[in-house]
């Protein structure tokens, strides 16, 4: 298998943006790497973990992003280059430490990579984490393509050391989760011995003098960025319009200029160092044009900061027109696309452009509307969460008091929709369902008569729900925690966590047992297998009816994709067409219409259910659903 550790300088390889960042860190001689999985950042630590043993690095999946950043900072304080990687929500978690770390500074290069998910393709929120660089007066780099992702990661360590500050690299989905050509550099061989210099304590307190020092470093960063090779202008000497762009916006801008055949009329200023902005460099380019178009994801960060520089120098620069999110030429939410940039540019340049002939587009759209059914997301065939939600739905209906299910982030977030029978009623941050339950679990004294139910996954529990559970016990909240233990951080690629018994690099690790942990935090605990549908319904019903205290019910069943990698099907599942009565059964097509496992099919001609053998993973749960006993399973 191929790895990112091949020492073949000059070789051109196909790397994902995240792998390119990881490779850049290796070329900089990184020694300690930590993070918490989250798309679109997960492959940074994932690919480093694969080569950690070979290269003698420490790479870990930490319990959460704040701890991960503290680990990386500890290594930096002791003279080892370190990297920390996370998604946008992760930086929120790590921000308390980050906004103290900026005051103490660091020693060896410390690079913090945050991969944002514009449009929230695999997130609960949409957020522009570049604003943290502004809050913390920290240097910020934004890679625009794969080669630059590698170069910035490598260079980030030198910048960090020169300034004595952590460097933020902000990536986005279309850089992190895209692949392209990357020319490899050399892997260094250095083995510095770590030592923490006791004469140089790292104390954020007292804040004022430290804040002053931070501002001096910040000025130095601005000067340093004046000559950075990451800021590039491409275009004519005096363009009609200059696009000012960063990150993913750069390739879309190039594409738009290419599509409109407008390279004689448009310049592209690609900013790689976006905080602090190099003022002199920027002024030089602001003199080039009278019109500027800002292309960036998601907030008008560059747009507002460039305008601030303009405002400071407007007497000298004269009248300029700025286009972007402020004048609604570019949408202020969601991802950019080539179309968004092309249509903005075509409006500014008055160039007509339509994608493809109208007759074709019309026929294609008609075909789409006429025959193509929607394809909603659903739990995978054999996913334990489907069985879990089935049991929750049934038990809460039997209980009859409109129990409130408070959820959070994971594959099980699909519980907000049809796949989880619309059971989940709140969705915010990691572990927030348990925290919310601490609140709602106090409201019975005010007359709340609905049962309070928190729901969270195994990795999420370790990440953010343990303090909330301790809080519940301490403050006598009343609720039932449903802990969905599928033995993986499934949504982000099955990374191990403290309950799985292995580390990021494959070493054995002690298991922090969820049952013991919940008991020690004061909860009354039971464990069920969600594939035992009847037993699970009974357990939920029993525990939701216990009046006082904190109860935890653990649903223990491995993620179907994890078990599917290791073993073939548990069962061969078949539907007996003689026994399946279809629409005349009275079950109202329970298996396909309600349970909706993608491994099932409804044959509209024969009016019977069928198994799709290409999708069915042989969990056998639908056998328990069918009232006519038409679904049969045979152990494999």
């Amino acid at each position: 298998m191929r790895s990112i550790a091949q020492n073949t300088p000059g070789k051109v390889v196909l790397l994902m943006g995240n792998e390119a960042i990881a490779r850049g860190a290796l070329e900089a001689g990184v020694k300690v790497c930590a993070g918490y999985p989250g798309n679109p950042s997960s492959e940074i630590i994932g690919s480093l973990a694969e080569v950690a043993n070979e290269l003698g690095l420490h790479v870990e999946w930490s319990i959460n992003e704040k701890v991960a950043l503290e680990i990386a900072a500890g290594a930096s304080f002791s003279g080892l280059r370190s990297l920390c990687a996370m998604k946008q929500n992760g930086l929120n978690v790590a921000s308390d430490f980050l906004l103290n770390l900026n005051l103490t500074g660091c020693k060896a290069g410390l690079v913090i990579v945050v991969a944002d998910d514009p449009a929230g393709i695999s997130s609960s929120n949409e957020e522009d984490s570049r604003l943290f660089a502004k809050i913390g007066d920290l240097p910020l780099l934004e890679p625009a393509h794969f080669q630059e992702a590698k170069e910035m990661a490598r260079e980030g360590f030198s910048i960090s050391e020169a300034l004595g500050l952590p460097v933020l690299i902000r990536s986005v989905t279309r850089v992190s989760h895209a692949r392209g050509n990357v020319t490899l550099g050399e892997l260094p061989h250095s083995n510095p011995k770590p030592a923490f210099d006791l004469a140089q304590p790292r104390l954020a307190f007292p804040p004022l003098p430290n804040h002053k020092v931070l501002h001096e470093k910040f000025k130095k960063a601005r000067t340093m960025f004046e000559t950075s090779s990451f800021n590039v202008y491409r275009g004519p000497e005096k363009p009609e319009v200059t696009i000012i762009t960063s990150g993913s916006g750069y390739l879309y801008s190039c594409e738009a200029v290419f599509n409109l055949n407008a390279k004689e009329r448009v310049g592209i200023l690609k900013m790689g160092t976006t905080w602090p902005l190099p003022e002199e460099f920027l002024l030089k380019h602001l003199r080039r044009s009278d019109q500027f178009l800002f292309i960036e994801e998601v907030d008008p960060f560059l747009e507002n900061n460039v305008k601030e520089v303009f405002a400071q120098h407007c007497m000298e620069l004269g009248v300029k027109r700025f286009f972007g999110k402020a004048n609604q030429m570019i949408p202020d939410v969601g991802e950019l696309t080539p179309e968004i940039v092309t249509s903005a540019l075509q409006a500014l340049l008055a160039i007509p452009y339509t994608p493809g002939p109208e007759a074709y587009n019309r026929t294609a759209s008609e075909a789409l509307a006429e025959v193509v059914p929607p394809r909603a997301l659903s739990f995978c065939a054999g996913c334990p969460h489907r069985a879990t939600y089935w049991a929750i739905k049934t038990a809460l209906a039997l209980d009859g008091r409109e129990g409130i299910v408070l959820g959070d982030i994971g594959c099980y977030s699909l519980g907000v929709g049809a796949s989880g029978f619309f059971q989940m009623k709140t969705l915010h941050a990691m572990g927030s369902g348990v925290g919310l339950a601490c609140g709602l679990g106090q409201l019975d004294r005010f007359g709340l008569d609905q049962p309070v139910i928190a729901l969270c996954g195994d990795s999420t529990f370790y990440h953010a729900a343990m303090p909330a559970l301790a809080n519940a016990t301490y403050n006598s909240a009343n609720f039932l925690l449903l802990l969905l233990d599928n033995s993986a951080t499934a949504m982000t690629g099955f990374q191990p966590h403290p309950g799985t018994g292995t580390t990021a690099t494959g070493s054995p690790a002690p298991i922090l047992d969820l049952q013991t942990l919940c008991q020690s935090l004061g909860a009354k605990v039971e464990v069920v297998d969600p594939f035992d549908i009847e037993g699970t319904i009974a357990a939920i019903l029993k525990m939701v009816r216990m009046v006082k205290g904190v109860k935890a019910l653990i649903f223990k069943r491995e993620c179907a994709l994890v078990s599917g990698r290791r073993q073939k099907k548990n069962y061969q599942v078949e539907i007996d067409p003689e026994r399946c009565l279809g629409d005349s059964c009275g079950c109202n097509r329970l298996c396909t219409r309600v349970f909706k496992c993608p491994g099932l099919r409804w044959d509209p001609k024969k009016k019977k259910a069928q198994i799709d053998e290409a999708i069915c993973n042989g969990c056998g749960v639908c056998v328990e659903i069918c009232p006519a006993s038409a679904i049969r399973r045979e152990a494999q």
């Binding site: 794969f146 279309r174 390739l251 190039c254 994608p355 002939p357 074709y360 659903s378 995978c380 994709l561």
Partner: protein, 212 residues
């Protein structure tokens, strides 16, 4: 032999779990070995939960293009599922697009539940044919199931691709990349899947005037 349009734009699309990301990566690796500059944009997130997924490949001799293909600029569509072909052609197709199609449907949950209907496959193929300059078809999933695991259907499709003379994909190059990227225990099966795709793909004779 291959004088490709620059950039040449390929979409590999299907349903999460069908292996479109791996197929695009293998294709990218084969082409990078021939000196092309490749950009691949992938749909993640939904990829393991039954949603529609796409990989966009930009193939150039000059420079990297954006990871998303502009609408109406797909040159080759490799569709791992029939209705997904139409879903992709609507925004990305053009009169001279070439389509390689796996004819085996995967029913969305709205079809399973009876809230929506899945069209006859022959009807889908007719629409695809109307929207493409040339169309090649095979039931890659059926071939993979005959081999014992539907997981091979993406490789069957790559095998089919290697015979239609649209991109410079040779068996030899596939084998080299497969040795690098795929687990060694499944190498022989993957090579067999590739060969089965080569044998089974058929072009649909065109019977229409292209939509201009």
């Amino acid at each position: 032999m291959f004088d490709l349009k620059d950039p040449f734009n390929v979409i590999i699309g299907g349903v999460g779990g069908q292996g479109n990301v791996l197929a695009s990566r293998i294709l990218g690796e084969i082409l990078i070995g021939q000196g092309y500059v490749i950009t691949i944009g992938e749909t993640y997130g939904a990829s393991q939960r039954g949603g529609s997924v796409m990989s966009h490949l930009r193939i150039s001799k000059k420079e990297p293009f954006s990871p998303l293909i502009p609408q109406g600029q797909c040159d080759l569509l490799i569709a791992l599922e029939p209705v997904e072909a139409l879903r992709i052609l609507a925004p990305y197709g053009k009169p001279d697009v070439l389509t390689l199609l796996n004819t085996r449907p995967i029913h969305p949950i709205d079809v399973i539940s009876g809230d929506a209907t899945y069209p006859e496959v022959s009807k889908v193929i007719a629409k695809v044919e109307q929207l493409s300059l040339r169309v090649w078809v095979l039931n890659a999933t059926e071939i993979a199931l005959e081999m014992g695991d539907p997981i091979f259907s993406n490789i069957v499709m790559l095998g089919a691709l290697s015979t239609i003379q649209v991109l410079p994909v040779e068996r030899q190059a596939f084998e080299e990349v497969a040795r690098d990227l795929l687990p060694s225990r499944s190498l022989m099966e993957n090579l067999r899947a590739f060969d089965r795709g080569r044998e089974m793909v058929k072009e649909i004779p065109s019977k229409k005037v292209p939509l201009a």
